[in-house]
Amino acid sequence: MSKLIDICVQVDPAYGSPHVIIKTDRRSPLIDKIIDAIERCTEEEDPDVVCYSDDTVVFLNSEDITRIYSENRKIMVCSEGKTYRSRQTLAELEEKLDESRFVRISRFELVNIRMISGFDLSMAGTIKVSLKDGTETWVARRYVRTIQEKFMSINQGGKDHE
């Protein structure tokens, strides 16, 4: 075993899912690599989204995610009233998440279809989308047709299933 890392596994029935604590004197690239490796293993096992709140890693159920957007070159994930950061790009998240559940509304944002209350067009001609948690955001005009086609294919898929 490498002298750089001591690995200790404690089996405790009290833990329903693995609880990883990394003890170190300082954050280093090695620690980041260990975290990445654990995330990769987790993503293979479970398609939930890995996010961060300060230094805490949070696994979000995609069903609970309201929207994912890019802000100041960071990817932010909103879920149940809280906002987290993600290390993945918007394109990677879009590919990973269920395409029948999430829709791209602009270059910088994905929204959970089940969380959408409705769309509205202002007099100035901007397209607003209201979400069930009270958030309002904006749809890019060029994505309107794409969103329509996605909705129609979801509805068509539902009818085919019947």
Partner: protein, 152 residues
Amino acid sequence: MSDKMKKTILLVIFGFIGGMVINCMFMMDSIAGLINGTGDLTVGRFIFFLLMGGIFGAVNCGSSIIYDIERLSILGATLIHFLIVFTMFFGFGFTLWGFEIDDVMVWVLFVCMVIAYFIIWLILYTTYKKEIRKLNKELENIKKDTTDQKGE
């Protein structure tokens, strides 16, 4: 080169050629006079007016790329395009084409331009309104399906 840049260049070229063609149509009589050797249009002035028409068309068409800027609302894009064309048209008019502020025709042209841009905004607004209505209808169907599935 980005897609937007390529589109802008194509619009400018198309507008330039279109502007020259439309200018020629307005100058048919003068061109006929030039060919026959009558009238006061010289070759130099003809080329000048042709180029002016081309530049006007290029700016008019090229600036329509403003509608592709997502940050701008339809109203914002329409207002900016109107200002660009208005400035160019009346700039040329008062400096080169002999427009005068107390000329009724100048005011008629101004009102026509305002009405034309209002119609552009109205067409775009009603088109997107219709699209949004369709979106909301499809969304209702999705929600209905989801509720039915949960009920099962």
